[in-house]
């Protein structure tokens, strides 16, 4: 049967494993690792769209399962020490048992919340009903926060600042044409970037160059692979 499994509906890889075990009425204490691993991988394969962050957790478990599977399959050639002799599944079994326990506790909590178990009720506060909470604050506090933020800013600003209005491509286009008009033999591409101090400026020069080429005012010629790229004014035909 071909269907897409919604991984979102599982809280995580342990939940999916428990589901697989329960579905086939398998014992947690004696997990058939090979079978379960194959089924687990099959589930992942059938999964269509997924949330990347969540998928990461599932993939970590997949790696772990594959590793377990291979360890179970390998014949033990060497005399194993006491510790290594223990069932490689032991850790997984313990994790599944732990997880199952807390899952049950979560169900208990839900029953409490629903009033399925004898519980006490507290008074609904007016706050909760109206959704109004009285917030307090003072302007000096606000000002101090901002001061601190500004003080820490310079470093961050260099890192995060995005292109703003200071990069003007048409100015750069004029500059390129001007420089090409001065040097008769044209320029080598790298020369364009001489004296450029910021990445944004370099980007502006490059965009300006592309635009000039598109407008057929300038041509760029590379005579051999990996050779210099020469730029010169296009001669009007």
């Amino acid at each position: 049967m071909n269907y897409v499994v919604d991984l979102e509906s599982f809280h995580g890889p342990l939940d999916l494993l428990l589901y697989l075990l329960e579905e086939q009425q398998l014992e947690i204490y004696d997990i058939p690792i090979a079978t379960i691993t194959d089924q687990y991988m099959e589930y992942l394969r059938q999964t269509g769209e997924f949330n990347l962050e969540q998928m990461g957790d599932f993939l970590i478990m997949a790696t772990y399962l594959l590793n377990l599977k291979s360890r179970m399959l390998l014949p033990s050639r060497v005399e194993l020490s006491e510790e290594e002799d223990s069932d490689p599944r032991a850790e997984l079994v313990q994790r599944l048992l732990d997880y199952k326990k807390y899952k049950k506790l979560a169900e208990c909590l839900l029953s409490y919340q629903n009033g399925d178990f004898p519980r006490v009720f507290f008074r609904d506060s007016e706050d909760e009903i109206s959704g109004i909470e009285e917030l307090v604050g003072d302007a000096a506090q606000l000002w101090r926060s901002f001061q601190v933020l500004l003080r820490d800013l310079p470093e961050q600003e260099e890192k995060f600042r995005l292109p703003q209005g200071d990069v003007n491509i048409s100015e750069k286009m004029e500059e390129i044409v001007e420089r090409l008009e001065q040097g008769k033999a044209g320029l080598v591409l790298q020369d364009l970037f001489q004296g450029v101090i910021s990445l944004r400026e370099a980007l502006a020069f490059f965009l300006a160059l592309l635009e000039l080429i598109r407008l057929q005012r300038v041509e760029a010629i590379q005579e051999q692979s990996f050779g210099e790229i020469k730029i010169r004014l296009q001669v009007a035909v």
Binding site: S125, E134, L142, L150, F160
Partner: protein
């Protein structure tokens, strides 16, 4: 089937939990007893409460429903109670609010550039609390939403105008 005393206790519990009026029809439904019997019981309860000098509470009929509330005699004492827990803003909320207050109107990206961390959740929280509001779109690529502070913000921070914010340049 509940005994009469149990019904009274249940009514008290219901009125207690709901911090407001409980309609008669709702009481009938919750307690699953006939309307007439319930009315009779409530009348008895009101009398009992009124005669019990050891209780600071009373049952009051209001718009065809009933309400548990304190007796007026204790209003002086209750006035001494601290008002419903005043909530302080978290440091993250305060930072974000400071940026909006001083840089408004400001986009979320601009806030993030100053804070150096993702701020979508905290911006949403401030929106929900009514401390900031959307204030149009910035005329740049993607037309990001601009945020500004609200009147509620002024109220919470005890300002009558944004001009009262401490001056940045003075530092």
């Amino acid at each position: 089937m509940l005994m009469r005393d149990q019904i009274k206790a249940a009514v008290e519990a219901v009125l207690f939990v709901r911090a407001g009026r409980v309609g008669m029809d709702e009481l009938v439904e919750i307690l699953d007893i006939p309307l007439l019997e319930l009315k009779e019981i409530l009348l008895e309860m009101i009398l009992e409460y009124n005669n019990n000098i050891r209780s600071g509470l009373q049952i009051v009929e209001l718009n065809g429903g009933y309400l548990l509330c304190t007796r007026p005699a204790y209003s002086d004492i209750l006035a001494r109670m601290e008002k419903p827990q005043k909530k302080r803003l978290s440091a993250a909320a305060l930072d974000t609010l400071a940026i909006v207050a001083y840089r408004q109107p400001v986009t979320r990206l601009e806030i993030e550039q100053i804070r150096g961390v993702k701020s979508d959740r905290i911006v949403n929280t401030l929106l929900e609390k009514g401390l900031i509001q959307e204030a149009g779109h910035k005329a740049v690529l993607g037309k990001p939403i601009l945020y500004a502070t609200t009147e509620e913000f002024l109220k919470v921070f005890g300002l009558t105008s944004l001009k009262e914010l401490p001056d940045l340049e003075e530092l």
